[in-house]
Amino acid sequence: MSYYSDKFIDYSKREIEVKWTKDTWDNHLNKHPELTDMKQASVLINETLSDPSLVMEGDTIRNGKEEKIRCYYKEHKRHQDWVTYSKVVVGYNADPSYIKSVWKKEAVHYLIVQERKYNFKEIWKKTNSYL
């Protein structure tokens, strides 16, 4: 039984779900102070998945196993070198795909998309995106 569950449709009409245990939810809540409650988390996930600025896809090793993931980025604000953005990490080797993580963060613009260092493919980019 999931403690936090919800369903979303991404910009490409793919169904993506979140099914987190209480431990996973509590852990996210502590590590990401910007998350306040499930409703707000779902809003943040939904706006990032449905209208991303950039989507990267690639393979990683997690717990010794290869896992295909997609990272959805959405710019929220830009001021000088800093960008406030949300990032949703999605496990993509299942149908429906599943949310692994969500957060909102501020970073100097050239450091945001870590996945470019690891040969992830850019599969979607908004024309006006700075990322």
Binding site: T24, N27, P33, T60, I61, K100, E106, A107, V108, Q114
Partner: protein
């Protein structure tokens, strides 16, 4: 907060960590390494101005922890010297999160201090090479 005050906070991350009883955690599902206060303040924001490290900075500009994304996948690949630290995080506290058992905490302390030193050195390097401007650093310190 002034740039120099913030720089001194960065230089003293080890001390802050000791005083605030930071805990090292590894999330194997997300491949993230955390070294943070047990309860990060709600007024903290995660900020990144260095390649490998993001810092939790509260609304007073104080540092409450750090995060390394792609910790084993990338960071450890380039920094083999931290393997004993990751190897020591064996106590499972939930599905995918590991911490260092109490009886091994002393043995890994100097690795954590080395991570703190790395953050301080990389910040100074970024400033002196003009990769990080004074304004950008001040923006991070604003919390």
């Amino acid at each position: 907060m002034e740039k120099n005050k913030f720089l001194s906070l960065i230089a003293n991350i080890s001390e802050t960590a000791k005083n605030d009883n930071w805990q090292a955690q590894y999330d194997s599902d997300l491949d993230c390494f955390y070294w943070t206060k047990i309860k990060i303040s709600k007024n903290s924001t995660l900020k990144q101005f260095l390649d490998d490290f993001s810092l939790y900075i509260n609304n007073k500009g104080a540092i409450e922890g750090l995060v390394i994304e792609y910790a084993k996948y990338n960071f450890l690949g380039h920094h083999k010297e931290f393997e004993p630290l990751f190897g020591a995080m064996t106590e499972k506290i939930d599905n995918a999160v590991y911490i260092v058992p109490k009886n091994k905490e002393d043995k890994i302390q100097h690795y954590l201090e080395n991570i703190a030193d790395k953050v301080a050195k990389e910040t100074l390097d970024a400033i002196s090479s003009n990769k990080l401007s004074k304004n950008s650093l001040l923006a991070a310190a604003r919390g």
